[in-house]
Amino acid sequence: MNTGPLIKLEHIERSYPLGKQQFTYVLRDINLDVDEGDFVSVMGPSGAGKSTLLHLLGMHDFGWTGEYTLDETAVHRLKPKERTILRNEQIGFVFQNYNLLDDLTVYENLDIPLSYRHYSKSERTALVADTLDRFSIVGKKDLYPRQLSGGQQQLVSIARAIIAKPKLILADEPTGNLHSGQAEDIMRLFKKLNDEGITIIQVTHSETNAAFGNRVIQLRDGWIVDGQKGKAA
């Protein structure tokens, strides 16, 4: 039973070399706890390090220093392969540009994360059918992403993110490419998923979207300037 925070970051730094002995820092001394069931919004101006933080949490990026614990597993001590396994077990992703696989149908886009996680054929069929039903997209299952609207694509993208039952969803400006009506639908969906127990961390520029969460972290020039400890209202 996990008694501590779901995510614990301690003294995390991310830099890129500029030249000999010179670096530019994108994240500086990040210390952050995220509890299970939190809905966190990461905000800040462009270049503040929001997406970098998200990719770091998602284990897309390994070039950082510091300590990162996810569900009591010390990520910083894991080998790349072990990180991949942990990521597949715990994390689902939602991107601003949906990042659906263009050449796969909606059904296949939902099926593929399960096939990568070695679910059996019957389990996959059942889970995809459930998810299509849950997101009310059964009628779209044989369509390709290009045949869907932006909102529908993001809906599929979220369905794909949760289909393998992750504890954590990382969303990078999930409504950035949507008009306001669609954006609100998507945020309601996130809120619903959060209410069902999934922890969500989203990067957003929108105060409205942030209002769906229970905590906001402000980043400036790689530093957390607000929301580092404790919970915001």
């Binding site: 990719h55 897309h60 990026d61 991949t84 696989l101 263009d102 990568y116």
Partner: protein, 815 residues
């Protein structure tokens, strides 16, 4: 896996141009490989069509001092081998023969063989109907039985089973058909490794061989080949040792017949080795060539896939983000490449079927077992394996390169994945360098062999083969029982042929140059010592009519040609060639000298003339000493007619048949073909190898050009933004052209350099297949290098030109 296959198929449908170029590229590479493997399988790998063929050996004797390395055996010698050698299960003697068949209206000459009754059990082949020979059928008077081929049964008897026991008339004799051999059965096989050992046509009739009492007394009359099956547990070395012991005994017991030195002996040769012979080197060269073509095709596909991997970087990143492991991405990539390769193999197999048919038409008559070549399940299985292997080979590099996408960059809105593109560029460059190098190696090899072949074609054969038609005639002993009847027939035919329009000269010979048939005979030179320790000369013999020299335009160097007066009963005469004159009378005139030739009896024959040398055994073979005897003094029942005409010699065919039929309606004319074709056939294996190698080199050049074109096109697209910036900053079109061409030039230069080094190291492997061309022939190296560089330059110039037309506004806007 099904999911991956489905996705791979969808990728092909989605990118039809990529799919078509990829499939065609692979079809060329895999098709060439399949075609060559089909040849290798049929000619080198497939066992001979006999039971346990590895234990079959041929026995040939030799007289080394007389440069006679593989000569047949005489009946008394065969009987000694057969009865005394314990190393063999069975030994059989055989000789080729021809039969004038009288079935239906048109007489036909077919090839056959006289074989020991033991031959069929020795080979372990059963007839499909009837039986083979009984031992008692080897006796004179009992040998009027024949076994026929399935081919003849089908062709002449419409597969009628009642042919067994029926009568067959050949050469005026009546034979009873007792058995039919299977379609796959072929004997004797052409012995490719032994000059003159090619038995010509495939046999359709086998007759039991029995030796007459007269033959059993002639130890020196050697005309039978011997085949044996080694006894179980006996190695070829043990058998050879036993043969040598027996030969030593023969030498001791018959001192008048054998020199008391190692000059005479007998050697065992594995049958397969003799059948494969020289074709093995040519096939191995072709295997090397197709391997290069396949590698170039792989490099091409790898560059194409790398370009596509760059375009699909975002897709790979998404797959990783939703949980794909690196292994899973690699599996997907390899599935796609293998699926592509299997499609390529499908089209390639169709190309191979077509190519094999082409190859068969180029060399069926002249390359042993070529008729058996076909694409069978083994070939298809190997093709599938090659396809899978090829798919893995060209898929692995882009698969590994695409399996490490930079997620942070690739998943960003508008991310371009520049880091991995740079990595891909380096790989693409390396692949193009490799392609150019491999193409250069192949082109050099093809160039050397082509030059060698051209040199060979330009060799003077010593006669003029143009506008000469040849045809074979065999007079049956029953209808033409004596010399007078035979000579009468030949003279009458010559008279009639001489009156045909356009015919300028006509003559007969026993053996045509380059027909892969030889005959030699020992003789005595007047005034020179000859005994067991001083063996007499043994040289090539031909029996001709005077018109033969004129028909072939073999020049008279000294003395005179045969004349009508040189007939039976007149003083014996002989014409020799220049090489024979030089060998035995190097510093004096040979004309007037006398020799004694065994088959003209004890009288001396006078050398009346010297003619020019003829390259009898092949354009690439040295000239041999030869002597010619007149048909009038040495009658012969099987002769070859040579007719020189002022027109296309083929147009004489029907007139020739008509004239033969007018004299004897039952006499067939066989092997009617122009002399030029005889020569062409003699170089058929070499020509086949050159044709295939040049074709493969052409394919390699095409693939390498496509590869360069593809890479440069991709580079131009990739650098559009940079080109736009440069042009916005004032770069001229010539600057842009120079930029791209310089890049291409560096790749071509590096590839050419590498190719030259590899070619220099590898062309020495071709040494044995080259004729009067060095493996390091500078003009060939220079020519192919310049040609390849030129083609490569054109291939890169097209995309470079396109780059110069870039509109800076559009180029910059595209970022």
């Amino acid at each position: 896996m099904l999911q991956e296959i489905r996705f791979a198929l969808r990728q092909l449908v989605k990118n039809p141009l990529f799919a078509i170029v990829g499939i065609l590229t692979l079809a060329l590479g895999i098709g060439a490989t399949t075609a060559v493997f089909t040849l290798v399988n049929a000619l080198l790998i497939k066992p001979l069509p006999y039971q346990d063929p590895a234990r079959l050996v041929l026995l040939f004797q030799h007289f080394r001092d007389q440069h006679l390395d593989t000569i047949p055996v005489s009946p008394p010698e065969f009987l000694e081998y057969k009865t005394q050698l314990k190393s063999f299960d069975k030994l059989a003697a055989f000789n080729t023969s021809t039969y004038n068949l009288s079935i239906g209206n048109a007489p036909e000459r077919v090839a056959g063989a006289l074989v020991s009754a033991d031959l069929f059990p020795l080979l372990g082949v059963q007839p499909i109907r009837g039986r083979t020979f009984r031992r008692e059928e080897s006796a004179a008077g009992r040998d009027d039985v024949v076994v026929i081929s399935e081919r003849l049964w089908r062709r002449k008897f419409d597969r009628n089973p009642r042919v067994l026991g029926s009568k067959l008339i050949a050469d005026g004799r009546t034979f009873t058909v007792v058995g039919i051999m299977p379609a796959s059965f072929e004997f004797p096989l052409s012995l490719f490794n032994i000059p003159g050992g090619q038995f010509g046509e495939r046999a359709d009739i086998w007759q039991p061989l029995g030796f007459t009492d007269k033959e059993m007394k002639e130890r020196g009359s050697r005309s039978y080949a011997v085949i044996g099956r080694l006894a179980p547990q006996v190695s070829p070395q043990q058998a050879q040792a036993e043969v040598e012991t027996l030969v030593a005994g023969m030498r001791a017991r018959f001192p008048d017949n054998y020199p008391q030195t190692d000059s005479f002996g007998a050697t065992l040769y594995p049958l397969k080795e003799q059948v494969i012979g020289g074709i093995k080197t040519l096939l191995l060269i072709l295997v090397g060539a197709v391997a290069l073509v396949l590698l170039i095709a792989c490099a091409n596909l790898a560059t194409m896939l790398l370009a596509r991997a760059s375009a699909r970087e975002r897709e790979m990143a998404i797959r990783v983000a939703v949980g794909a492991s690196r292994g899973r991405l690699l599996r997907q990539a390899l599935t796609e490449s293998v699926v592509l390769a299997i499609f390529g193999a499908g089209v390639g197999t169709l190309l191979a079927i077509w190519a094999i048919e082409l190859v068969k038409t180029l060399g069926t008559q002249t390359i042993p077992r070529l008729g058996e070549v076909e694409i069978d399940p083994t070939v298809l299985l190997v093709t599938l394996a090659i396809a899978v292997g090829t798919g893995l080979l060209f898929g692995i590099v882009p698969g590994l390169a695409g399996g490490k996408p930079d997620l942070t960059e690739a998943l960003k809105e508008g991310g371009r994945g520049s880091t991995s593109s740079r990595r891909h560029n380096q790989l693409r460059n390396a692949l193009v360098i490799g392609e150019v190098a491999l193409a250069l190696v192949l082109l050099t090899g093809a160039g050397l062999l082509l030059k060698s072949f051209v040199r060979l074609q330009n060799v003077d054969p010593g006669f003029n083969p143009k506008k000469v038609l040849t045809a074979e005639l065999s007079l049956p002993a029953l209808a033409y029982p004596d010399n007078a009847a035979q000579v009468k027939f030949f003279n009458e035919l010559l008279r009639r042929v001489g009156t045909l329009p356009g015919v300028t000269d006509a003559g007969f010979t026993t053996i045509l140059p380059m027909s892969n048939v030889n005959s030699d005979c020992s003789f005595t030179i007047e005034g020179r010592l000859m005994d067991a320790t001083h063996p007499g000369p043994d040289e090539e013999d031909r029996i001709v009519t005077p018109g033969y020299f004129r028909a072939l335009q073999i020049p008279l160097v000294a003395g005179r040609n045969f004349a009508p007066g040189d007939k039976e009963g007149a003083p014996l005469v002989v014409v020799i060639n220049h090489a024979l004159a030089q060998r035995y009378w190097p510093n004096e005139s040979a004309v007037g000298k006398r020799v004694r030739i065994p088959f003209t009896g004890p009288a001396w024959s006078t050398v009346i003339g010297v003619v020019g040398n003829v390259r009898h055994r092949g354009l690439d073979q040295p000239v041999l000493p030869e002597f010619y005897l007149p048909v009038t003094q040495v009658p012969y029942s099987q002769l070859i007619l040579a007719v020189r005409s002022q027109q296309d010699p083929r147009s004489l065919t029907s007139a020739l048949r008509r004239e033969v039929q007018a004299i004897d309606p039952a006499l067939p004319l066989a092997h009617v073909r122009p002399l030029e074709q005889v020569i062409a056939d003699s170089v058929a294996p070499r020509r086949l190898a050159v044709v295939l190698l040049v074709a493969f080199a052409g394919v390699a050049l095409l693939l390498a050009s496509v590869g360069i074109y593809g890479v440069m096109s991709f580079l131009v697209v990739q650098r559009t933004h940079e080109i736009g910036v440069r042009m916005a900053l004032g770069a001229q079109r010539s600057d842009v052209l120079r930029l791209i061409i310089t890049h291409a030039g560096a790749l071509i230069g590096a590839g050419t350099l590498l190719g030259l080094i590899v070619a220099l190291l590898s062309t020495s492997l071709l040494h044995s297949a080259l004729y009067e061309v060095s493996a390091f022939d500078l003009p060939t190296f220079l020519f192919v290098t310049v040609a390849l560089a030129l083609v490569a330059f054109v291939a890169s110039y097209i995309p470079a030109r396109r780059a110069t037309r870039a509109d800076p506004m559009i180029a910059l806007a595209r970022t």
